[in-house]
Symmetry: C2
Subunit: 187 residues, 2 copies
């Protein structure tokens, strides 16, 4: 038999490191604003979907950044939140971030889709901060968010992940709307 | 700022290529039996969870193989189904497998968890074949399957993905039970 594909890799674009400012990222609003700024830069760089995500530790330090890389990396798994989890966990050398006893926050520019929602359950985060709503994504862009549990928020809370949403929602929506105006492909 | 982590990669263990036989994999049962055999070998090799998944094209050819690699690759994203999607899509150069007009089948030894369930929605598959049930995984191993939509099967069917389950369920359960007997860590 021909060998099956044996290797997968994701490279974060270099420009991502230019985006964070000096901080401090000590409020939910500051964390989400960075995720939204990443989503904006991602469309400006033509990398694909208008989505950004940032992982912070409990000292408000940036642990990892993800931006949507589905098209450039040829992977439906390369959503912003997933990319942040992949990069953070492998750099830390553990598959569950908060197994080190610290507390981790994921700030994401839009509500996680069905795939990223499920990934949040296993990633070892304690807090999920959300900018735009799922309904905003579906109204302003060609993206579907997929099927979620009816009580998606309660399911996370019951697993120890606190959720806060509608943070800088208008700012997040402005990037989604800008992306929608570019008449992008649906993928 | 210190640069954020910029690279993630997954390597499929070499032994995986020894597992498929000459086939043919022209029935649902043959496809699932290969996924189950991979799940068995994965625990024999001490790679982690008892889960295997295989992607087939519509000529019953193996497109990619995934096994649970959460611990060796330090990633909560490295579930068997996800690994198969990552490897297949990047090798094909497109994030949605069936965008080439062919039809793809994912055979997985156990019902996908919440993360892999969501991933199935975006991966570009047409058929999902399942061995053990979610309740089997939770009864026989330390693994949780996470929150799913109440009508998880209907949500896939409405998106054009046909689902067949309970294929070689006893055989799949025997591997889950063997794993559970080893008193593995919960992660």
């Amino acid at each position: 038999m021909t060998p099956v594909p044996g290797r997968f890799s994701i490279e974060l674009p270099d420009w991502v490191n230019q985006v964070p400012g000096p901080g401090p990222y000590d409020s939910d609003e500051a964390k989400i604003s960075l995720a939204i700024e990443l989503s904006r830069r991602n469309i400006e760089h033509g990398e694909g979907g208008p989505f950004g995500a940032v992982l912070f530790d409990d000292a408000d330090r940036i642990v990892a950044i993800g931006v949507n890389q589905v098209l450039p990396q040829s992977s439906s798994t390369a959503h912003a939140e997933m990319v942040a989890f992949m990069l953070a966990q492998q750099a830390a050398g553990r598959p569950r971030l908060n197994d080190d006893g610290r507390r981790y926050t994921l700030a994401t520019s839009s509500q996680p889709c069905c795939q990223c929602y499920g990934a949040c359950v296993w990633a070892g985060i304690d807090t999920l901060l959300i900018g735009a709503r799922s309904e905003d994504v579906m109204a302003l862009t060609p993206f579907d968010e997929g099927p979620l549990p009816a009580d998606w928020r309660g399911e996370l809370e019951r697993r120890g992940i606190s959720v806060r949403s509608d943070i800088a929602r208008d700012e997040a929506c402005s990037v989604l709307a800008e992306y929608g105006r570019r008449n992008p492909p649906r993928y």
